[in-house]
């Protein structure tokens, strides 16, 4: 997917450490990307005057203007997909990064192959949406809420329900296609990401894990129903609600 040999996908890599930036640029080039490098925010802004990359890899901690501030600019003004590289793994950093519009983040030290998988996943999503613009509307079904910015699922009683990235993507597939039967291939196609290898093995397994978290054993109603012949359907109506500045949510 990094484009063909004549027209490779261009990535802008912004990191102040040449020790990481240079080998990473080489590695990505070997993977078929065309990579430009910038060592700080000013440098990156200059580069963006002459070229428009398909995606920006951005270090969060940089001297001068930091990565979060540059990220906001890239997302708001340039509408570019951004993956943050962060040295810290604390929840707050991640949520802040995602909230200001980054498409994904990887924690240093990352596995280069995983980074490539994420780059591809983000590119695929931005190609589908026609833009990398974050969805900030929540999905609501049967009292459950899915926040696509924080990638967070909230139960009807307000408790946060921790789900994995794979489960999150599976749930997004369901809530964007409520009451439609999705067979395994279709689900695989929609949720393919870095955990693709897991999905190859067991979409069914992921669905049953998701069910374990959002369905009550004692409840008769099954939110995710199995369809004979192979496939699943979200048996609920989904509403889109836009978070309100004042008191949570309005319809």
């Amino acid at each position: 997917m990094p484009g063909d040999a004549n027209n490779p996908v261009r990535i802008l890599l912004v990191d102040d450490e040449p020790g990481l930036r240079e080998p990473l640029a080489e590695y990505l080039a070997r993977q078929g990307f065309a990579v430009s490098q910038a060592s700080n925010a000013v440098d990156a802004r200059n580069k963006l005057l002459n070229e428009t990359p398909a995606l920006v890899l951005l270090d969060v901690m940089m001297p001068g203007e930091d990565g979060l501030s540059l990220c906001r600019h890239l997302v708001e003004a340039k509408d570019l997909p951004v993956i943050l590289l962060t040295a810290r793994g604390e929840a707050m950093d991640r949520i802040v990064g995602l909230e200001i519009g980054a498409d994904d983040y990887v924690v240093k030290p990352f596995e280069p192959r995983e980074l490539v998988a994420r780059i591809k996943s983000v590119l695929r999503r931005s190609a589908k949406n026609g833009s990398s613009q974050q969805e900030d509307a929540h999905y609501e079904f049967e009292g459950w809420q899915l926040d696509p910015v924080k990638r967070r699922l909230t139960a009807p009683d307000g408790a946060v329900v921790p789900i994995s990235a794979a489960e999150y993507r599976l749930l997004v597939a369901f809530v964007t296609h409520p009451r439609q039967v999705l067979d395994r291939d279709r689900l695989l196609d929609m949720v393919q990401g870095r955990e693709a290898h897991i999905f190859d093995r067991a979409v069914d397994n992921q669905v049953s894990r998701l069910r374990r978290k959002i369905e009550d054993e004692h409840n008769e109603v099954r939110l995710i129903q199995t369809v004979r012949g192979g496939g699943y359907v979200l048996a609920a109506d989904v509403r889109r609600i836009v978070p309100d500045g004042n008191n949570g949510i309005t319809a």
């Binding site: 810290r88 604390e90 929840a91 030290p109 280069p112 139960a155 329900v161 374990r212 978290k213």
Partner: protein, 472 residues
């Protein structure tokens, strides 16, 4: 035995002890004053008797003054009128059958008479109800024709009979028995009470001025103990000593907060400065041709990263930057088990109940992950995870089938960099921070970490059970 009402605060104890001592002192002085006043009244009465007896001219001169006296104001008149009771001359002993001589008053009167140059050959003093004394009653009735009799007429009188040497008849003088003066007693009591309340009240105000800043300082210390942040410091208040104490405490707080901030900045820098080169290294090894060699390198880098993460987490666990959030603990537990399943580890989810608790999910996951990793590493490669509600607490339990930990080492296992004997070789990896961190995370949530050997029916160790117990 402890007095249940004994106050525990400095203010209460000081007020109470001062109040008790002051009450005792005031009571004592009030009693003494009262006794002195009584003495004075007795002496007064004795002098009055002595005066009457010594100036007795054996003539009835009182009647002439009767008219002008009766128009005096009540209280004044009352006091004077008995002075007009003349001395009676009587041939018989004035004491009747059934009346007893009052030795004390007799002696007092005798000594006064002697001082005045009257030497009694015979003296008798006794008390009698006024109404039983015909002499007095006759005079009173004639003085108060038709009107009510004065108060002392309902009381008692002191009667003194004197025979001078050579006298044939008794000279009998009478004065009303001095009763307790209600006015004096009331004045004494109210004076005592006013003094008492003024002193105790003033002392209470003063003490409050000292103890209020102390109480505020205690609250602040309690707050600072679990949230070491310099903001919200107290203004120095109260007397100079307290002010200095608060100022010194503020300085110490600022110092501690600065040290902790410094530590956070330093750890952030260490984290960044070590993780970036590690990331570079991780990228570079991708060009190593030999697959086995490359994966070994990758594993080493992962080990370093994990240790680094553990150290950084341990240093930050006391000052988390995120707030607790209502979280579905069952889903959290399940997601951890699933992570291990995905890595191909033999971790199974046992009994689980849906519990919602206010936790910091990122931290709790890390703690649970450490327990599961430990169970897998030292516990025979298998782990069972359960979540149950027990006695108002959410209990995450991780069990393995390993050799357990010798009882005497159980406590020491929670110390940093401590690993069981079985794992001394570096082959198993890890810095030995896993349990320390798990305990610190349990602490952070107000909970506890317990390690215990699981015993079989025969008493043999079947494995280890590690549990994080969080109050709900």
């Amino acid at each position: 035995m402890k007095w249940p009402a004994w106050p525990r605060s400095l203010l209460g104890q000081m007020i109470l002890s001062v109040a008790v001592v002051l009450l005792a002192a005031q009571t004592l002085s009030a009693v003494l004053l009262y006794r002195a006043a009584e003495q004075r009244r007795e002496t007064g009465a004795a002098h009055a008797l002595a005066f009457k007896l010594s100036t007795d001219t054996r003539s009835e001169h009182g009647q002439a003054e009767h008219g002008q006296d009766s128009r005096r104001s009540d209280r004044d008149g009352l006091k004077r009128r008995w002075q007009n009771l003349p001395v009676e001359q009587s041939a018989d002993l004035p004491m009747r059958r059934g009346e007893a001589a009052d030795e004390e008053r007799e002696q007092l009167l005798r000594s006064i008479l002697v001082e005045q140059g009257v030497s009694p050959s015979d003296l008798v003093v006794f008390t009698r109800n006024t109404r039983a004394d015909e002499f007095v009653m006759k005079r009173l009735r004639s003085q108060h024709q038709g009107r009510s009799l004065p108060d002392w007429a309902n009381g008692k009188i002191i009667v003194a009979g004197l025979k001078r040497p050579g006298d044939m008849e008794w000279s009998v003088a009478r004065v009303p028995l001095p009763g307790p003066e209600v006015g004096t007693l009331g004045g004494l009591i109210s004076q005592t009470l006013i003094l008492y309340f003024a002193l105790v009240g003033g002392l209470a105000l003063l003490l409050r001025r000292i103890t209020r800043p102390l109480a505020a300082l205690t609250n602040r210390l309690e707050y600072f103990a679990h949230t070491p942040e310099a903001h919200g410091q107290l203004e120095p208040d109260g007397p100079e000593d307290t002010r200095r104490l608060i100022a010194a405490h503020n300085a110490m707080e600022a110092r501690i907060a600065a040290l902790l901030d410094e530590k956070d900045v330093m750890l952030g820098a260490i984290g960044h400065d070590l993780k970036t080169p590690l990331a570079a290294l991780r990228v570079r090894i991708e060009s190593v041709e030999d697959d086995t060699e490359r994966s070994r390198m990758a594993r080493t880098i992962e080990d370093i990263t994990r240790t680094l993460d553990d150290i950084l987490s341990l240093a930050r666990v006391g000052r988390p930057s995120d707030d607790p959030e209502a979280t579905d603990l069952a889903a959290l537990t399940a997601s951890i088990v699933e992570e291990f399943e995905d890595m191909g580890e033999a971790v199974t989810l046992d009994e689980i109940s849906r519990i919602v608790g206010s936790v910091r999910a990122t931290w709790l996951r890390r703690g649970l992950r450490n327990l599961v990793s430990n169970a897998l590493r030292y516990g025979g490669g298998q782990a069972r995870v359960s979540l149950l509600r027990e006695d108002g607490a959410a209990v995450f339990r991780v069990e393995d089938d390993g050799p357990g930990i010798p009882e005497h080492e159980l406590g020491a296992m929670l110390e940093p960099f401590r690993r069981g004997e079985a794992s001394r070789n570096r082959e198993t990896g890890g810095a030995g921070l896993g349990l320390t961190l798990a305990r610190a995370i349990a602490d952070q949530h107000g909970g506890e970490l317990h390690l215990a050997n699981r015993l079989g029916a025969d008493g043999a160790v079947k494995g280890l059970s590690a549990e994080i117990r969080l109050p709900l």
